[in-house]
Every structure is written in C-alpha cells, then in structure tokens.
Symmetry: C4
Subunit: 212 residues, 4 copies
C-alpha cells in the first residue's frame, strides 16, 4: 500500500506539472491578445498582422517547443514508479524553465534581432533540456525508482543530441543574424539523428510510443 | 500491461489537452476585464456596456464555439484505446487553433467589421474543425487505435457538415457585412443536418451521448 | 461497460469544469497585480493599498463567492452516475457565469457605487445560482441520471433560499447604497435558513458532507 | 461505498486546489511578460534585464516559495481519507493566500525596499504556513479523518519552525533593509532545524517522502 501511495503521490505531482505546462503554453497567446488593443494605431488589420509577424512566429515556435518538451517529459516520467525529493526537485527546476519561457518569447517578439534576446531564449530551451537530461540520469542512477529498461527507455543520446542541436542553433543565429530563429528547427532533426547514432552503435531506436 | 500503460498515457495527454482548452476558454474574459480600467473615459457604466457590446458578444460567441469544440473532441477521443505520435501530433495541431482563438476573438471585438478579421476568426474555427476531422479520419484508417464502431461513432458526415456551415457563414458575412458574426450560428444547425443526411442514406443518427 | 464509459465521460467533463473554475478564481488576482504597475502614482505603498481597498475587497468577496459556488456544484454533481447533453449544456451555462464573473468583479473595483455595476455583479451571482438550481431540477426529473435520494440530496430549498438572499441583497444595496456589497454576505445565512425551513417541514438538514 | 465516495470527493477537491496552485505559480511570469512591452524605453535588452533584476528575483523567489508550499500541502493532504466542511474551509483559506501571492510579488518587484511591501509579502507567506498548520492541527484533533500516524506524519514542529523562520526573516529585513528578501531563504533551513529538534526530543525525522 505504501508503494501504491507513493505512486499516487507521483501521479498527483505529474498532474500538477501538466497543469503548469498547459497554462504556460496557453499564456503564449497573451501578447497577441494585447496587440489588438492598439489596432487603431495601424492602417488596417492587415497592417497589424503584417507588422507583427514576429509575434505570430514567436507564438507558433514557442508552442511547438513547449509541446515537444511536454512529450519528452511524458516519455521520461511514465517509467517512474516511485519518487523521492531529488526527483521532484529536478522536475520543479524543469518547470521553472517552462513557466519562464513566455518572458523570452515576448522579448523575442519585441526585440528579435538582439543577441541577448537570442541567448536568453535559446538558453532557456537548453536549460529545459538539461534539467530533463539530469532527471533521466537520476533515474538511471536509481533503478529502484523506475520500471524502465535503461538501455532502451532512458538512453542519454536523445538528450545530448537535443542540447547539441540547440547549441549549434545558437551559434548559427549569432553568427548569421539573418537566419533569425529558424535554426531552432534543427530540434526537429534531433530524433532522427539520435536514432541513427543508436543504430551505428548497434542498438535499435529508443522506444517512444508518442514523444521523441 | 503495456496496453493499459498506453491507455493511461493517452488519458494523461487528454487531461493535458482539457486543461489547455479550459484555460483558453477562461482567458476569453480578459479583454472584458481590461475594459474596466478605462471606465473613467465613459459617461457611465451603462455607456461602457453599450459601447462595448461587441466585446460582450465576442466573449459569448467564442465561449459557445470553444465549448462545442470541446464536446466534439470529447466525442472522438473517448473511443481511443491506444495512441501513437501521429494521433498526438494531430491533436496538438487542434490545440494550437484553440489556444490561438483568443487572438481573433479580441481582434473581432476591436475591429469587427473588417474582412480580414472575419477571415481570421472563421478561418481559425475551420482549422479547428479540419484538424478534428483529420483526427477522426486517422482513427478510421487505424482501427487498432480505437474501440469505436466506425460506421456509428466516427462517421465523417458531422465534420464535413460543420466545415460547410462555416464556409457558408464566411461567404454570407463577407457578402452582407450587416450580418456580422451571426451566420456562425449556422453551426447550431450542423448536428440536425448531419443526422438528416445520415437518415437519408439509411443510417441512424451518429451516437453521441453528450456532444454533437 | 457502457455505464462505466458514461461515468468516465462525466468525470472528464467535471474535471474540465473544475479547471475552468480554478482558473476563473485565480484570475481574480489580476486586477490587483496590474495595480502595482502604477505604484509611482501613489505617495506610498500604504496609499496604494488604502486607495484601492475596494479592489482588495472585491477580490476577497468574489473568491468567497466562487468557492461557495464550487462546493455547491460539487454537492450536486457527485450524485450523477450518467449524463446526457441537456445536463451538460446546463452545466456549461453555469460555467459561463463563473468565467464571466471576473468582469463584474473588476467593474465593481472601479465603479463600486454604480447601480448598473451592482445589478451586473449580483445578477451574475443569481444567474449562477439559477443554472445550478435548474441542473438539480433536471436531475430530480431524471432519476436515472443519479444515485441521489431526491428528498435529502437534491432538495430545492437551498437553491431557492440562496436566490432569495441575493435578491434581498440587491434590493438593500440599491435602496441604501451605503451598504455597498456587504448585503451579499446574506449568502452565509442561506444554509442555516434552508435547514431551519426543512426542519419546520419535518425533514432533517440536507445531507452535505462538505459544501452547503 | 459512502467511504470511497467521500474519498473521491476529497480527491476532486485536492485536484481543484492543485489547479489553483498551478495557475497561481504560472501567473508569476506575467509581470515579466508585461515588461517586454516597454523594451523601447530601455537602451538595450541588456539594460532592460539589468534594471529589472528585482522582477526576475521576485519571480524566482515566489516560484520557490509556492512550490515548497505545494509540497508541504501535499505532505499533509495525502493522509486524508475522509473530509468535512471545516477541513475544506481551512484549505480554501490556504488557497486564498496562494492566489493572493502574485499581488505582493508584483508589488515587491515595483517597490522592493518599502516596509509595507515586506510586511505584506512575508505576512502572506506566514498566513499560508499558519493555515496549513491549522489544517494539520485539525487532522490531529480528528483522527477519524486520516490514516496518519500523528506522531510521525503530522508533527507540528515543522509548521512552527517554518513560521518562526519567516518571523525572523521579517525582523531582519525590517531592521537591516540592505538584506532585502534574502532572509526568506531561512525557510530552506526549516526542514533540517525541525528534524534536529525532533531528534533532541528522541524522535526520528518527520516522514516525508518528497516535500519537507
């Protein structure tokens, strides 16, 4: 019963985290909503949309990124059968970066070409990835907390490749500002690259029923 | 156990989506709340209410629309017993349109007679409907993911009729601007029309315990 | 299985409604947060707090009211074992009034002595109560949807008394503006009055494990 | 069945409270998001970040504090097997303080050196702690509501030490304004101090699988 108690406790915690992510992802629309208050300052609604393309793009990019982060966390957390305060603390640090993301997102919409903005935005994404990687590492080091097969379910390659992609994206956007935030889409290549790497080492792709 | 694992995973995902919809529907009130800050600019509270009728109407219309979308999604998702990343991706695209909706809603309140606003608002609704139709189509093509009876539970007629109604509504409001956003209420006729169509073809009405 | 399916469907709907209420109750703090942006316009933080007492009072009153509404809805909904689209529609109408409440709350903070504001605020509360009463009436008329003992669990007296108290509160505050929104606290007397009435008729108090 | 009914009712209530906490913790980012609207008033993004360090610090501190409060509440509530309206009312009072916290947080960001701000912010934290302590006291006085071992699970020492730490923090920051809000970090010492105290009295540390 203590076992199932701990499991329910963790489920309640994960539901709490999910609610936080759901709110953060929905708050991303607020800067767009606030735009509409100034509609009279524009020649037309078309002009408003055209001159605020970067707000729309920032919204879509952050929505994509946060939903990928949610799936990645889901993939890791579903193997947890017990938890302890360290696992909880690592996931709360992960949550700080998710809750914080609407700030660099809004900054990106206002001052997109600024190097500090780019470092803050991509740096936040890297922090999210790193905390999740630390969480998976903690699970690998404490097999009593999971029912995962570490080799297949918690392989660190995916996390490493994701962070590498973001570091490369940051280098590209700082070196060639005209690329704007497009290099972040390198993230989409992280899954295939990680699987290719694993195959090279003789393993199959990481088992991921939904996320990557 | 893998089965029930996948089922719980999907339930967690659906709870996550529900939270997103709940937040998006509640954020619809924010433009109204912000109105109150300018109460001193109006002759009276009555004047504030009168001059911002379009904000109140936009709030009610979008609340109605999002709650119908939630019931429609509930109707489709309750048949899912397994999931895969494609099903998840389609539902996340559906969620983008829900999270985005407060933006055209606020725009509608500020510049309701504008053709671009109308296209953006109704276009977002059509996108929501289309992604749900794609999701149902995906379930029909992958019967191993559902316990649905495709004939009765995932019949595409409802989705098709909903999209048709919205396209007609868009045509009417663009052709006769004085109709404002009232043509959207054609959506209320979509359920009865779909059932009539099904009966013509010799089937019963689509089984829907709650939504339509 | 159809049975348990319907039950789970209703549970998912109730969780969705709970999320909406949780968000609406938390959004009540936003007008307070926005106050802080103007702190420089005040002589001191003390002055800001003093001159915005009505904002603080509006926050507390609406928090109290919404939490009572949640308990009242919880009391009714826990007897539901099946649902249909009418029950769902009535509860969605109930939810509109909850989501709308932050608007009259913010209006009350800005223009508290205005008769229109008072009618809008208390009128919204009455609407919430009425929709819940209609929901309970619908359950009484459809005993197949509940496992309730209508006599003890769905007695209409509580709803009637609550609406009466709010109508009296509205009359008092309109007749004697100096009473401000304090008459709404008559709601706190609704539970005891309803129980006294029931005892007069020879029944025991309504069974309510938590709400009233 | 009545038993399990009461248990499910409490679980629904706790999920409702968790959603409130999740929203309140996520709203903490809004003052940061609003900063970005004024980015043109600063020399650069770097200047914006530098001149609003107190906003960033307020965000992180309140995130830390609210997440600790959540874990503390989780620790108390997981022992509840039944509930009554008093237990529910105490937890709703706890929730008021959580929902209110974004207001003193935003005030702290705008007027951090003000004594009233400090009293309001730390006073809110003390109120949160006190309501949780009252809740635990209520559970100790009503053993029929819990499956807890009062000696190990609901020992009042932790609550007392937490409140003491906050009172000391308030005294320090008022006496030595230069310490700003750093004394609040004394909270981090509350767990170890409580355990040391318990050991002095011959007991083991309080059993807390995750929170402290």
């Amino acid at each position: 019963m203590a076992e199932s108690d701990a499991e329910r406790g963790f489920e309640r915690f994960i539901t709490f985290l999910d609610a936080i992510v759901a709110i953060a992802i929905t708050l991303l629309v607020l800067p767009l909503v606030e735009l509409t208050a100034d509609v009279d300052e524009y020649d037309s609604v078309n002009a408003l949309l055209r001159e605020n393309r970067s707000e729309l793009w920032a919204f879509l990019l952050s929505f994509l990124v946060v939903s990928r982060f949610w799936f990645a966390q889901h993939d890791s957390a579903r193997h947890v059968v017990r938890w302890d305060r360290h696992a909880a603390s690592i996931l709360m640090l992960w949550a700080v970066t998710i809750v914080f993301l609407p700030f660099p997102t809004a900054l990106m919409a206002e001052a997109e070409d600024n190097a500090t903005t780019k470092i803050l935005y991509i740096g936040t994404l890297i922090a999210t990835m790193l905390f999740l990687a630390v969480f998976e590492g903690y699970l690998r080091a404490h097999p009593e907390l999971t029912d995962a097969d570490p080799e297949h379910d918690l392989d660190p390659v995916v996390g490493v490749v994701n962070v590498l992609m973001l570091l490369i994206a940051l280098a590209i956007t700082l070196a060639i500002p005209a690329t704007s935030y497009f290099p972040i889409l390198l993230l989409l290549a992280a899954g295939p690259i990680a699987n290719a790497w694993r195959r090279l080492r003789g393993g199959g792709p990481r088992r991921t029923p939904v996320g990557e």
